[in-house]
């Protein structure tokens, strides 16, 4: 697994990913708490909404750095492929859901769930690709 590897690029990536994931959770809690208790409006509301996205930006940057630092071409290809499957799956789910939202039976998709869906699908794709090439 990537977590138990001796590969320095992978180790750095895991460290950066963990820090940004922690920041994402902290920022999300801060944003939700402030919206619930302080009811911000105007630029402050937009700024708070952007806080969790800032951590997402950090995670994407961490992945970009990993792709740049990783010496093993095979691992780079795996990373890119799993991201492609992740975004493909996410877009397929969201587009299908979006069209079904035209009908009253279906509730609106919370957009806050899009990034976790992407992460989950990319993770599953990474696992499956690793199994395929084992």
């Amino acid at each position: 697994m990537i977590c138990s590897t001796n590969n320095p690029a992978a180790r750095r990536y895991m460290w950066r990913f963990s820090v940004t994931m922690l920041l994402y959770l902290v920022f999300l809690v801060i944003a939700v708490w402030t919206f619930v208790h302080r009811h911000p409006t105007g630029p402050l509301a937009w700024l708070l909404a952007f806080l969790p996205a800032l951590a997402i930006l950090g995670q994407i940057a961490a992945f970009g750095l990993y792709l740049g630092e990783e010496k093993d071409e095979f691992q780079v290809a795996l990373g890119v492929k799993s991201m492609l499957w992740g975004i493909g799956g996410t877009l397929a789910v969201t587009v299908t859901w979006g069209f079904l939202e035209n009908f009253p039976q279906l509730r609106h998709l919370d957009l806050i769930l899009v990034y976790p869906i992407f992460c989950a699908l990319s993770g599953i794709a990474y696992g499956l690709l690793q199994l395929r090439y084992r």
């Binding site: 509301a45 994407i60 792709l67 035209n102 009908f103 769930l113």
Partner: protein, 137 residues
């Protein structure tokens, strides 16, 4: 231009886009504008799911065609540019949807239909590709 013509991966991409993707996207556009937009189609739950999946097929096809191109492309530089632009596209789309999601959660903005995510992703990715190519020119 000649390089593009002699590139088999690019030729495959063009063929797949022309013969598979375009008919699918044409179906999606007709269905979206005529069927759903003007409410000519009022499907039941099962039919709605089928039509929704049919619509998503066009988008899935686009991703599959892109993935195949990425696997077949021999030019390392082109692959690197595409991977980087995809990463920027994903990042920008996720930032936009997450920020909008938080604002939407507390009724600060109206609901954004997830159908618009793919055009948004394509726009961000194309912009990133142009900027990355310009950087390496």
């Amino acid at each position: 231009m000649e390089q593009q013509i002699n590139n088999p991966a690019r030729n495959h991409l063009n063929d797949r886009a022309l013969f598979f993707l375009m008919p699918l996207l044409a179906t999606v556009i007709v269905l979206a504008i005529w069927g759903f937009g003007y409410h000519h189609i009022q499907p039941s739950s099962g039919m709605a799911l089928f039509l929704g999946t049919l619509v998503a097929l066009g988008y899935i096809g686009q991703i599959v065609i892109f993935g195949l191109y990425l696997a077949e492309e021999k030019d390392e530089f082109e692959r690197m540019v595409l991977s980087q632009s995809m990463l920027w596209g994903v990042g920008a789309t996720m930032i936009f949807t997450s920020s909008w999601g938080v604002l939407e959660l507390f009724d600060k903005v109206r609901h954004l239909n997830p159908v618009y995510f793919l055009p948004l992703f394509c726009f961000f990715m194309a912009t990133a590709r142009i900027l990355i190519k310009r950087r390496y020119r």
